[in-house]
Amino acid sequence: MKILVCLKQVPHKDARLDIAGHGTWIDDANLKFEINDYDNYALEAALRIKDAGEAEVIVATIGPDRVVQSLRTALGMGADRAVHVKDEALEGSDSLGVAKSLAAIAAQESPDLILTGLMSDDANYGLTGPMLAELSGLPHATGIVSCEHAGESITVERELEGGALEVVELPLPALVTVQTGMNEVRYASLKGIMQAKKKPLETKSVADLGLQASDVAPKVTIEKIYMPPKGEGAEILQGSAAEVSQQLVTKIKELGLL
């Protein structure tokens, strides 16, 4: 079985984020980066399938040279090989451009299963997975919280609103996007990190994927990002709990909300 795990490198969860001078993204000059949390769970799910039987796990990501560190971490956790897509044409690319590039990798690798995170911690669109499935002509399920592989299919549980779960069986090849908390993500062992050096890590351009720059050019552009303006007119009610409650009721009535 061949499993492709699509990873994204995002700013570290504890990083202080400042808006860049151009105002359309954050200033990432001095940021620490890490594997997107959702993708970590996807990788762990793939590695568990590998641990349970015969499987090859390939990790793929798109980005500048710094993303190699995340690929090395994934290899250290147990992935078998890595594909790094690096191309100026992908700078500022949108979800569709990323999905097209990943679909080209999937076409070259012909995986039985594609796993990726439900969304990325930085952009939060949740689009790449479903777009990749559509472009690859694969059945897919989003936001899965469990995954069982048996023969030519996988059975997954999807998280729905209100805590309900939906059980879906998908014939392979298929794609699933993974919700956080699905499993306990392993740490890369030091031995794994040492072995990762010897594992194949291939760097590809957009042309190597059989695409042209225009194929991955963004259709969506970010006009502006900004911090929400602070609200004004907040009033702190004073007094005992009983007094404050009474004042609150009066205020709500004054506003015509009761």
């Binding site: 971490t73 890369a188 062992s189 030091l190 990762a196």
Partner: protein, 337 residues
């Protein structure tokens, strides 16, 4: 010579830092202080599984067979997290010592250390007390030029007051005998000198991490805490102190890395480099502790706020395996003799 840590060593550091951020937050350290063992339940096993505990254990015994240079960044991270586990004595010092002692001792204990199943307590001059004796499965103790290996049943350990709730100290009484002797004579002297250097260097690396953690926390606090209508970090009296603390760390950090290099490559300057590193790292951590307390003000004194975890570990490790004064004195002797 390219004097920089390798990509692999940086990845080791990143992996351990990520793991400790999740498994060893200040709340868990504070809880460990109040526990019977002073440790975080299950964390030692996770560190062993990751390969950190057996880093210095030879591959033949289930470890990674790496050296003191590979320890530097990892021990810095252990310091940064105020890790309440016996990583320094058991893994960074006792494991290579057992490896050098060889024979039955090595065969019996190194696989157990690598598997996270054994803790080793060290009693080396000039330290008057033995850390973690209550958890130890094996004691390696110095008597003059000799090293002795004893079981917990062969020693009497009496708890001593310790400022650090996780690094617990004991007076250990024992009787050296032919049966317990593991090394003696010239070989014993050389091993003891090397082991002391490893212990002092490991403590120095942890002190650098502790110092950095306290500085980072203080800078963060100084940016947020407002007084007289502005962040206290805007006042020169605060920011100059923080800058001085950073300078102390930046002086100590390369000295620790250099000492690790000379130790691994057995340069004749090894002991004086280690003493320089330990003295400066102790100074840096103590200075950072003082600055952190000043910048935090009253909250820094409170037991509920975690700053004291790093401060007290710094005080403890600054005194461990020779304090700054002891190492400066040794440095003077090594330079002048």
């Amino acid at each position: 010579m390219r004097f920089a840590f390798s990509e692999e060593q940086r990845l080791f550091q990143e992996a351990l830092a990520g793991m400790l951020a999740e498994q060893c937050p200040p709340e868990a350290v504070a809880e460990a202080w109040n526990g019977d063992s002073g440790r975080i339940p299950g964390l030692w096993a996770k560190l062993a599984e990751m390969g950190v505990v057996g880093l210095s254990v030879p591959e033949a015994h289930g470890g990674l067979g790496l050296d003191q240079l590979d320890w530097v960044l990892l021990l810095q991270e252990a310091g940064r997290a105020a890790l309440p586990e016996p990583l320094l004595e058991t893994s960074a010092v006792a494991a290579p010592l057992l490896s050098e002692l060889g024979g039955e001792l090595a065969n019996e204990w190194l696989p157990r250390i690598a598997a996270g199943e054994a803790v080793v307590a060290l009693g080396l001059d000039p330290a008057p007390w033995v850390a973690d004796a209550h958890e130890a499965d094996l004691f390696l103790l110095q008597a003059g030029d000799e090293i002795h290996a004893l079981s917990p049943q062969e020693v009497r350990a009496t708890a001593q007051p310790s400022v650090d709730g996780a690094r617990r100290l004991f007076r250990v009484e024992w009787e050296p005998s032919e049966r317990t002797r593991a090394a003696a004579g010239e070989g014993g002297r050389e091993l003891l000198a090397l082991t002391l250097d490893r212990a002092a260097l490991g403590a120095a690396a942890q002190l650098v991490g502790l110092a950095r953690a306290m500085l980072d926390r203080s800078v963060d606090y100084a940016k947020k805490r407002e007084q007289f209508g502005q962040a206290i970090g805007a006042f020169q009296a605060v920011k100059h102190q923080l800058s001085d603390a950073l300078l102390q760390i930046e002086f100590a950090r390369p000295l620790v890395a250099h000492a690790a290099y000379t130790l691994v490559h057995d340069w004749y300057t090894r002991s004086r480099d280690v003493s320089t590193a330990k003295a400066r790292a102790s100074d840096a951590a103590l200075q950072c502790a003082k600055t952190a307390l000043q910048c935090h003000g009253a909250i820094g004194y409170s037991f509920e706020y975690p700053l004291h975890l790093w401060m007290k570990r710094s005080w403890s490790l600054a005194a461990a395996h020779g304090d700054a004064a002891w190492h400066r004195s040794r440095l003077a002797k090594l330079l002048l003799d």
